[in-house]
């Protein structure tokens, strides 16, 4: 069942990467990068449950905060007419 989790997350990352490469506007790319961050966080959590080692779990907290901060900054950039 854990292996199926990895497969599903890989498919999700492929879909987000498609939108990241294809997306017509900057907002689409920000959305897909946000999705890729969610996939990374889920992968870290599943991996911690798989191996039983929680060394990387604080990275999830850091990724949450960095993802929100980058989204807010890029939103300000787009709203100011940057791109």
């Amino acid at each position: 069942m854990i292996e199926l989790c990895y497969v599903v997350l890989t498919l999700a990352a492929l879909c987000f990467s498609y939108r990241l490469l294809r997306g017509p506007s900057l907002s689409d790319r920000v959305i897909s990068i946000d999705g890729l961050l969610v996939v990374m966080m889920s992968t870290i959590a599943v991996h911690a449950m798989d191996t039983g080692r929680g060394s990387f779990i604080p990275v999830i907290v850091v990724l949450t905060l960095v993802g929100f901060l980058s989204t807010a900054v890029v939103a300000r950039f787009v709203e100011a007419g940057g791109a």
Binding site: L4, S42, A45, V46, A48, M49, I57, T71, A72
Partner: protein, 110 residues
């Protein structure tokens, strides 16, 4: 076993969000798919992992990450929606209530 099942459910929700982001036609619908489905999906994955791991320190870190995601994801989605509206990628429609268009200039700049 319960933790693994919850993690798989959350991964499937994240996959549904990804399919929505890849296939929906414009920015606002893509963001709708992303923000709702990944918030719930990541929360379910983190709760499943919190059930699955043994150390108490890891459990609290996972729950903290889930709480932070629930707090920040709607705010970020709102900011991106506003920004992409202001940068005029949204077609203006006159048959719906449009709270973000200013009354002075009814059509936003294209």
């Amino acid at each position: 076993m319960l933790g693994e099942a919850l993690a798989l459910l959350g991964c499937v929700l994240v996959l549904l969000a990804a399919v929505g982001v890849a296939r929906f036609p414009d920015v606002l619908t893509r963001m709708h798919a992303l923000s709702k489905a990944t918030t719930l999906g990541l929360l379910v994955v983190l709760i499943g992992a919190a059930i699955g791991v043994d150390t108490f320190n890891d459990v609290t870190s996972l729950l903290l990450a889930g709480a932070l995601q629930v707090l920040t994801a709607p705010v970020g989605a709102n900011l991106i929606a506003r920004a992409s509206y202001q940068s005029s990628e949204i077609p203006h429609r006159v048959d719906v209530v449009d709270e973000l268009s200013s009354p002075d200039e009814p059509a936003p700049r294209w």
